[in-house]
């Protein structure tokens, strides 16, 4: 079927390097979304141990409050910040805000107004803020 339709398939999503930072942000948005959903479900399950009493809760903490657990939590913090900041950018863009104004296109037509510096800056800012939040999270969790 794929051969007949010649669709790129999922590798069309997975190779984010060909079309600039906007495509990279699209890919990262999807990845962080899935990661956060997985964490959310896991978080609901881990916190539910509280209904089984103090021993069960402490046992769960023993499992999650480890170096690996803290690193995973730091990644979750980074994913949340990126997904939030980039999500707001995408939401505004999808409402037609900050995507430029239609006009008379000029040769060689290689600077589309929608892929403007405001959006690029927001993407870089969301990556930067995510990295900062991760560092702060690590500092809090490891109490350095």
């Amino acid at each position: 079927m794929e051969k007949q339709t010649n669709r790129e398939g999922i590798k069309g999503w997975l190779n984010p390097t060909r079309y600039g930072i906007e495509r990279f942000a699209y890919w990262l948005m999807r990845l962080t979304g899935l990661g956060l959903l997985a964490y959310f479900v896991a978080h609901i399950i881990e916190t539910s141990t509280i209904v089984d009493g103090k021993d069960a809760w402490d046992k769960m903490l023993e499992l999650t409050q480890t170096t690996e657990g803290h690193i995973i939590l730091a990644l979750v913090i980074g994913m949340s910040v990126f997904h939030t900041v980039n999500g707001i950018r995408v939401m505004l863009g999808q409402g037609g805000i900050g995507v430029g104004k239609p006009g008379r296109p000029d040769y060689p037509y290689n600077k589309p107004a929608s892929l403007n510096n405001k959006h690029k800056l927001c993407i870089y800012a969301s990556i930067g803020l995510a990295a900062l939040a991760m560092l702060y999270g690590l500092q809090v969790m490891f109490g350095v």
């Binding site: 079309y19 409402g95 037609g96 296109p105 000029d106 589309p112």
Partner: protein
């Protein structure tokens, strides 16, 4: 995927001016009716500063392998026929100069996300049907060809609202670059969505609600995630990503 031994102009003397610079042109050969795998055939082609990828393909057709399937017409990026994947990215072969690719090997393949007819030629059937579905014409009960009326006047500002979107030559590069098109066979696609906006933004048109109803579907405008790849590859400055976001503004209530 098999590679066939490279052929050069030296091996087969023909009346082509000898050049100091040359590239290897790798052409994807595949006939889905008779073959099960794609083959790449290599050719060594001389080029000048202004030689386009289409020129190089035509040198191959003229001198080495006339069976190479390629669709082209105007050779000046007006007809939208020669879209293909050039070194991994969709582009018009007539608009892409070899000297600007900065590569000694140029690989040409059929565009992704379109069924292959043969070699570099793909079928536009689905793109055209999505385009037609969105009513790409002015919808208005008034007519400018009745006796007592004049033509519909538009100010230059009115025209600028849709002018760039009317530049679309239906080459399909945007649909080929779109990540949603890579997996979603029911998605309308950036080409048709941009054309929907072209008519919605035209103040002579009264079909906005009809079109918004068509695109407000589970495989309609909401499957665009503003990755912007369509605008990145558009050779005519249409900027489908902008058109789609502006169009979505109507559905979100940001625009009236």
């Amino acid at each position: 995927m098999a590679a066939i031994a490279p052929q050069t102009l030296e091996e087969k003397p023909v009346a082509v001016e000898s050049q100091s610079k040359s590239i290897t042109l790798r052409i994807s050969k595949f006939n889905p009716k008779t073959e099960s795998n794609r083959n790449f055939v290599d050719f060594t082609i001389p080029y000048k500063k202004w030689t386009t990828v289409l020129d190089a393909i035509l040198v191959v057709k003229e001198n080495f392998d006339h069976s190479v399937g390629v669709r082209y017409s105007c050779r000046q990026s007006s007809c939208g026929s020669c879209g293909m994947k050039i070194n991994g990215k969709p582009a018009l072969a007539c608009y892409t100069k070899i000297s600007e690719l900065n590569s000694n090997t140029i690989t040409v393949e059929p565009m992704d996300n379109f069924p292959i007819i043969r070699d570099l030629v793909v079928s536009f059937e689905r793109m055209f049907s999505a385009h037609k579905k969105l009513k790409p014409y002015i919808i208005s009960e008034d007519s400018e060809i009745t006796k007592d009326t004049k033509e519909f006047l538009q100010t230059p500002e009115d025209v600028e609202k849709y002018l760039q979107f009317s530049n679309c030559i239906k080459c399909g590069l945007c649909n080929s670059a779109c990540p949603t098109m890579a997996t979603d066979s029911s998605f309308i696609g950036p080409q048709a969505l941009a054309q929907a906006y072209r008519y919605v933004a035209d103040n002579r048109d009264k079909g906005k609600n009809d079109r918004l109803k068509i695109i407000d579907d589970s495989h309609g405008i909401w499957r665009c995630h503003f990755a912007g790849s369509c605008s990145k590859v558009c050779p005519k400055g249409v900027d489908p990503a902008m058109a789609i976001q502006l169009l979505r503004g109507y559905l979100l209530g940001f625009r009236k």
